[in-house]
Symmetry: C2
Subunit: 121 residues, 2 copies
């Protein structure tokens, strides 16, 4: 795995959050797991555009960091189920707040993102 060269900033809660949950799909994965999608395949189909291996990596990190737990069933056909730990569940209010904020401001935010594009024709 990748070894960081720049020392982490742990001095405030914002950075703790960022260091652990910055991954592109992490919050979405936690959200979908909370919504009942437990199997890797389900999550992959749900998210669609994200590659299987990217999701696997992010899930592994979520497990390693204690947000998600993983049950591997010793069946002939591989079977895996993810679930949220208490720590993972503690993120749900924040995830919902972020999601709500984004949807409430969607019009303005999409316009803001277009600025970027227009700056680079």
């Amino acid at each position: 795995m990748y070894e960081k060269k720049i020392p982490l900033r742990l001095d405030c809660g914002l950075h703790l959050f960022k260091e652990l949950l910055n991954g592109k799909w992490k919050l979405m994965l936690i959200y979908y797991i909370s919504a009942g999608l437990k199997r890797p395949g389900e999550l992959q189909r749900k998210i669609g555009t994200a590659d299987r291996r990217v999701l696997t990596n992010q899930l592994n990190e979520l497990v390693k960091h204690g947000f998600v737990d993983k049950k591997v069933f010793d069946t002939k056909i591989p079977k895996v189920e993810y679930g949220l730990t208490t720590l993972g569940q503690s993120l749900l209010p924040i995830i919902l707040a972020l999601e709500t904020w984004g949807e409430n401001n969607r019009t303005v935010l999409e316009k803001a993102l277009q600025e970027q594009v227009q700056d680079n024709p």
Copy 2:
């Protein structure tokens, strides 16, 4: 500026938030501006480890995207003041929630981050 090659995901509020506010110091800048630090120099001294140019870039993006406004005073000595727009203010509850979450779980989170280090001796 950098031009993205992978199309943005705008399908959910989480990604809208992420695309616009993923920058390493953005939320912290918004927080400090809300706390009354308006001048670039003040913000730079407050954050310390972050380079001047990095903060300037992030502030410029926050302005461009409508979270922060910038007043340039036409005085002999350059003077600039930042302030939050309504959109920027709408983030404050979320920022406080993130900060609180991080501090409430600091012990566990720091241990989780050490996992990373121990995996790479």
